[in-house]
């Protein structure tokens, strides 16, 4: 049977449901290193660059990475060259990609989120803005904004005022009730949600028995967190039936993508799996098509939310 992988995030049409998670695929670097013309053959149906902040950030002291059982701990610390450099140097090149670009922004304060979102307004090369209110490595005063419903609301509302772009809010799973945080984001004007960012975690050096990461703790990603992510997508999707959700957290093969869509996502993002195999996303989309074919599911719309019904 004919299967259509087309899906949409509000007004943004995607040729298939597999996009990348912010910070896990740098197309400008990968295009130089991988012997493949990524601007011609791009594995994702939309591109989300690494989160940028108003001012440049050095990031956290190394070590920044540690592999755990089927997972990866990171404490990169939102290292980035700042939003001005992003607009000046990266955006003109990203505009050449054959897919929509979703700019990911974060602030060191609520105001900075508004300022960053505002700087994306009126830029035709940016299809949507993703607010990263959930980075576990950017905790000013010890807390990510997205840990608190009221601060989430205030942050999203400021960004909503600053831009008419399609507004995606990326939430942290490190909360008591993710539906409550999702509700705050939606009330404040979020058009879609990304679920989930990494899960708080720590690893000890096996010999010295001290934290491995320079930042002491970090965010866990990869197959290890898939059940946590799937639950978040299921619960939020059940509470907000028509809200587009980008499901992420351990998506490694077509079956994972199938399950996230069934749980209620409209698209999925591949993160850690791209570290394992830089163009894994293309294989995941192909496997998804095959699995839908085998099950007689003709479209993403038909699949999305199947687990709820």
């Amino acid at each position: 049977m004919e299967v259509s992988l087309k899906t949409r995030l509000g007004p943004i049409e995607l040729s298939h449901p597999v996009i990348n998670a912010s910070g896990t695929f740098d197309v400008l670097s990968a295009d130089l290193v991988l012997e493949e013309d990524l601007f011609d053959r791009f594995p994702f149906s939309a591109y989300v660059p690494k989160t940028v902040t108003l001012k440049p950030r050095r990031g956290n002291p190394p070590p920044r990475l540690y592999e755990t059982a089927a997972g990866l701990l990171n404490s990169i610390g939102l290292a980035n060259a700042g939003i001005d450099a992003f607009i000046r140097e990266d955006l003109p090149r990203l505009a050449q990609l054959p897919v929509p670009v979703i700019a990911s922004v974060a602030g060191e304060s609520t105001d900075e989120y508004g300022a960053c979102a505002g700087l994306m307004e009126g830029r035709p090369e940016v299809a949507a803005v993703e607010l990263n209110v959930s980075c576990p490595n950017l905790e000013l005063g010890g807390r990510a904004l997205g840990l608190d419903p009221e601060r989430t609301h205030r942050t999203v509302a400021l960004a909503r005022e600053a831009t008419s772009k399609f507004l995606i809010v990326k939430l942290t799973p490190n909360v008591t009730d993710i539906v409550e945080i999702a509700s705050a984001a939606v009330d404040a004007g979020a058009d879609a949600l990304s679920l989930i960012n990494t899960v708080h975690g720590m690893a000890l050096d096996r010999y010295h028995l001290k934290p491995v990461l320079g930042h002491l703790s970090g965010g866990l990603s990869g197959p290890a967190i898939k059940p946590v992510a799937l639950r978040a997508v299921f619960l939020v999707s059940r509470a907000f039936a028509s809200l587009p959700i980008i499901g992420m957290g351990g998506v490694t093969d077509g079956q994972d993508a199938l399950e996230f869509l069934a749980a209620g996502a409209a698209a999925v993002a591949v993160g850690t799996a791209s570290f394992r195999d830089p163009l894994a996303a293309a294989g995941i989309a192909n496997e998804l098509r095959k699995l839908m074919q085998e099950r007689g599911i003709g479209s993403v719309a038909e699949l999305s939310g199947l687990a709820q019904r």
Binding site: S29, A30, V33, L34, E36, R58, G283
Partner: protein, 262 residues
Amino acid sequence: MDAGLIPANLYECPVVESRQVGAYRQVSFVAPEIAALAQPGQFMMVRLAGKSLDPLLPRPMGVHDVDSDLVKMIIDPVGKGSVALAGAAVGDRLSVLGPLGCGFDLEGAGPAVLVAGGMGAAPLTMLARALAARGREVACILGFKTRSQAMVSELYRDVHVEVVTEDGSAGRCGLACDLLPGLVEKRRGRELPEIFACGPAEMLAEVARMARKHGARAQVSVAAHMACGIGSCQGCAVSRSGGYVKACTDGPVFDAEDLQWR
């Protein structure tokens, strides 16, 4: 969307030989393209091919040597990823992306002193040969903890090698850097040697300090935890004044004076 989008520099490579070299494991696999292209100091991202999710990610492995169609790597089986790679048997297949990163700059002239600590000895064999082929006088100082590690020094051929061990069980007793001033200072009044180093961070810091003191150029190959090897994850940060650089795409070989040393 394309069926099977695979970058041309990602290969599936059969293992053809695996043997113990003292404390380390030497694994050879068939990778004609990497063997043809690899420069001394470059690395590869390597994992066992297949679907197993534990270990999850490839590991950065220095190119130890190439021989016709074969690429060789030396593994120190200390963690989950390296133990899995060291266990690769003849006939097993490896997923290999490479060659990656910037290798050593070979363009200088004059004598070369190579300094290695432990596993750092692996990538320098190819460098020693390349420098000798350019007519440069090459001396190597290889430092190890023990005699079983020092057995890797047998892989160095046709160059002058001094072995040092911390426990004195092979060669001289001490650290690799103990011999460096002697090699640099005995050349007083003549052309200063260029230093090439690979090993633990403390050793590289000492090499950088000595090179600065004597006014010699030092190129160092750094090790860092890496997830992707292609500049995406920003995990392999290395300190430079004013910020960090990436070991994977900015390095792994740097001019010692460009980095910030503790």
